[in-house]
């Protein structure tokens, strides 16, 4: 009964979405306030209905209702409760449900929090959001219905892919989807603005918080995913340039560009058509990611079950959403008024450079990901594009980006003094040189030269961002107490920028450290054997059997010492899940926050007395995730800036006596 209620709610949600996408749009075109007013209740009703449907599916998973096909295929009565709940989105149908929950939640949020939006813009934004909802609800109901029953109901389910039974992965899709789908709001705002034929600083101020929220969650989602790959796949890598990873990375890059170009629109009323285009592209890349993962036209290690019918459907959605919006763009964008002028060397100029580099980076990843497909379609042969391509093309774009990232905030709007900015960065320059020298000394010239460049970039980003903050609060130039007061009174967005930029430096240090100086030892070991990895000695103590709720495992016990001192006892596992007949590696990791010692227990060898053991020493690797977390935090701090808060711009404008024209 409950699955049927969920199904029914989902169908109702589709009809509400149809109303939501039509009525407010007509209302906005004809100036009918009542019709425009439909937007808000429709968006909220759609969210509630989708939540009912999602709740029904979750209920079916939690009580292990094996008469529902989706539950049979992805659950098992012995599965721990956490994974019964997270298993709802661990499969294609359920993940699309989560998509729609996020989509409607964002739509409803605009309805609820967008009180100070002009009514026509609000109606149009919610209407466009409704159209996306129609597309995805149809997609679920036609090709991916999670409520289909099976008769007769089997006694037990097939269990969830054990690789996905992991806390890191359990929480990674909600963040990722919140990010992907969050960009739909920027998209809806862009399309609404094109329909209105007007883009102004107020528009940018409304778009930016949504973009920031989406960007922050996407950052967290990507970081969690990479962390999961690091400890669960047992190969010690953290990024593989796999199509699925790239599918999440492209919207992130484009979204980062959007975040920065929207600043220019907000502050200087320039770069409008470009920002609109970026908003369209960012969400289109999110849609394309969904398409690539589910259509099977590219190979990937972690693609969903592939069904061509689903692929065609998403392609049609993509064609309507992206094709339609780009068509609208080509018609309406030329007539948008261009705003403020600026010299090449200026804050605007630096943000344009940031956008150019980020777009190039996005294009690089895009081409690398799709090149095999393009070549194949043009009958030019089969290739696969791997990490060497991405490293060779992405890094040269990333280097100037990071260098400029530090200089940009020192430049003034309209026209700036580059030399002056650079002289104010001398402390950061000295710190950078010092870090490179220390790195060269510590590693004794080991590792590639590029590693020292990486250290330099990391230090430059970190200290340069702090230097900018110090400059703002006039640290050491005025009494510390006054500096403190200045810091407290700085807008949150300034804090956010410093945190995010400096964290980027931390993450770069992590990426550099582990790529350049990791050491790995892969060898067959028997209990009692010794091995070394980096400066650590590893002793294989014993192997025992461990029984989990829905798996049995071999657990190795290893003692890690350094110069005779005991560092850690690590217990990696090799789990086998009888239902899916799969084994997973649960690596054991000892982290000092400066580096990780990583032990993975592999397959038993020939006669079963020895095991292939993978040992890694990853210098600085935790910093990748510390840095990513910091970037997300920076985004959230910036999001809490008072000018984004509901009503705040209104009040401030009223207090200042309408200095700023509202339109």
């Amino acid at each position: 009964m409950i699955p049927e209620l969920g199904h029914y709610a989902l169908v109702l949600a589709l009809f509400v979405a149809l109303v939501q996408s039509g009525v407010p749009l007509v209302g906005a075109a004809t100036g009918n306030a009542a019709w425009m007013g439909v937007a808000r209740p429709a968006a909220i009703a759609q969210l509630l209905l989708v939540l009912v449907a999602y709740g029904a599916l979750t209920w079916a998973h939690v009580v292990s209702d094996f008469s529902v096909s989706n539950v049979v295929q992805n659950s098992h009565s012995m599965k721990p409760m956490l994974y019964k709940v997270s298993g709802v989105w661990g499969n294609h149908e359920g993940s699309m449900m989560l998509w729609v929950v996020m989509l409607t939640a964002f739509g409803a949020a605009v309805g609820i929090f967008g009180r100070n939006l002009p009514p026509s813009l609000k109606a149009r934004v919610i209407s466009v959001q409704g159209m996306i909802g129609v597309g995805f609800l149809l997609f679920i109901l036609i090709t991916s219905n999670p409520f289909i029953r099976v008769v007769p109901a089997p006694l037990d389910g097939n269990d969830l892919n054990p690789l996905l039974q992991d806390p890191g992965l359990a929480f990674h899709p909600p963040f990722l989807y919140a990010g992907y789908v969050g960009f739909s709001i920027a998209f809806s705002f862009a399309v609404a603005a094109l329909i209105e034929g007007r883009v102004d600083p107020a528009w940018a101020r409304w778009v930016r918080p949504w973009t920031l929220a989406a960007w922050s969650t996407l950052t967290a989602g990507i970081a969690l995913g990479s962390w999961w790959a690091y400890y669960e796949l047992g190969w010690g890598g953290w990024w593989y340039w796999d199509p699925v990873e790239n599918a999440s990375f492209m919207p992130w890059l484009a979204g980062t560009a959007l975040l920065h170009s929207a600043i220019v629109v907000e502050k200087r009323d320039a770069l409008k058509t470009w920002t609109i285009l970026l908003a369209i592209i960012t969400f289109s890349l999110s849609l394309m990611g969904t398409f690539l993962v589910r259509s099977g036209i590219l190979t990937s290690v972690h693609a969903f079950a592939v069904d061509p019918a689903r692929g065609v459907f998403i392609l049609v959605l993509l064609a309507i959403a992206t094709g339609g919006s780009l068509l609208l763009y080509s018609v309406r964008a030329p007539s948008l008024k261009t705003g403020g002028l600026f010299a090449p060397v200026s804050r605007e100029g630096s943000l344009v450079l940031n956008n150019l580099l980020l777009s190039t980076a996005t294009a690089t990843v895009f081409i690398g990901t799709l090149y095999p497909l393009f070549l194949d379609v043009l009958e030019l042969g089969k290739v696969s594009v791997g990490p060497p391509f991405f490293n060779a093309t992405f890094i040269p774009v990333a280097i100037p980006m990071v260098i400029a990232m530090v200089v940009g905030p020192f430049l003034a709007w309209k026209r700036a003094d580059l030399l002056g900015a650079l002289t104010r960065l001398w402390t950061a320059g000295v710190a950078t040189v010092a870090c490179v020298a220390i790195a060269a000394y510590v590693t004794n010239g080991g590792g590639p030269l590029l590693a020292l460049v990486g250290v330099g970039l990391a230090a430059w980003a970190f200290f340069g961002s702090l230097a900018e903050f110090a400059e703002r609060i006039r640290l050491f130039r005025i009494p510390v107490k006054d500096s403190w007061n200045r810091a407290v009174n700085l807008p949150r967005s300034a804090w956010g920028m410093t945190i995010a930029h400096a964290s980027m430096g931390i993450a770069i240090a992590g990426m550099t450290g582990t790529s350049a100086w990791q050491s790995e030892t892969i060898q067959a070991m028997k209990p009692g054997d010794n091995a070394t990895v980096g400066a650590y000695a590893v002793h294989f103590d014993r192997v025992g059997a461990v029984q989990g709720p829905n798996y049995s495992a071999e657990q190795g016990v290893f003692t890690v010492t350094r110069d005779g001192r005991h560092i850690a006892t690590l217990a990696p596992q090799r789990r086998s899940y009888p239902v899916t007949r799969m084994t997973t590696t649960e690596a054991a990791i000892h982290t000092t926050w400066l580096s990780d010692v990583y032990v993975a227990l592999g397959d038993p060898t020939q006669n079963g007395t020895a095991w292939t053991v993978r040992l890694y020493h990853h210098p600085l690797v935790p910093w990748i995730w510390i840095g990513s977390l910091g970037m997300m935090l920076g985004g959230l701090v910036s999001l809490s800036d008072r000018r984004f808060r509901v009503g705040a711009p209104e009040r401030r404008r009223a207090a200042k006596g309408s200095l700023q024209p509202a339109e």
């Binding site: 036209i297 190979t299 094709g323 095999p372």
Partner: protein
């Protein structure tokens, strides 16, 4: 002219969309192995219970070897099995097997039923070694030279045509070359 610039994103997107649409007819898995002319990846696999020898890099050196990835649950493997048996028995090619994600008792029963042409078989229970070899699915067949380098790869079941036109000439060439 200025309008054309605004049209450019749409045109680019149409191009990408057409590529996606045509991509449905393609099989992205049909990619030549990147391991061609490279030494086989480091590995060591245990034998099936009751068999003496497993499979590792050491076993692959010394003779030109055909390595066949198979499983008892794989229908095309059964289809190619007589061809492999003929290669081993009549053409004298050393054939070794990687038993991919299979239950030992199933594999043994399968070999008893269909005949065992393999000089030795390594058991790759969780498929990790197959990943290192770049195996997309079973069956797949590799041809290695005396030094243990992969020289040829075939995805899917072997056919008499592939054997006649590609594998046998290659075996002859590799044997005379070293």
């Amino acid at each position: 002219m200025r309008r054309l610039i605004y049209l450019l994103p749409l045109l680019l997107f149409v191009g990408v969309g057409v590529a996606f649409l045509r991509g449905f007819d393609r099989d992205p898995r049909d990619i030549p192995s990147a391991l061609i002319d490279k030494p086989a990846p480091e590995f060591s696999l245990p034998p099936l219970p009751g068999h003496k020898e497993g499979l590792s890099n050491a076993t692959l050196k010394g003779d030109v070897t055909l390595v066949n990835v198979f499983a008892s649950w794989c229908i095309p493997c059964k289809a190619e099995h007589p061809i492999i048996t003929r290669l081993a028995r009549e053409q004298g090619v050393t054939v070794r097997g990687i038993n991919h994600k299979d239950k030992a008792e199933d594999a043994i029963a399968w070999l008893n039923r269909n005949g065992d042409p393999y000089a030795s078989i390594g058991v790759d229970l969780d498929g990790r070694v197959s990943i290192d070899w770049g195996v997309y699915g079973v069956p797949e067949t590799f041809l290695l030279d005396r030094q243990g380098r992969i020289r040829f790869k075939h995805v899917g079941p072997l056919t008499p045509q592939v054997v006649e036109e590609q594998i046998l000439p290659m075996v002859k060439h590799l044997r005379s070359a070293s």
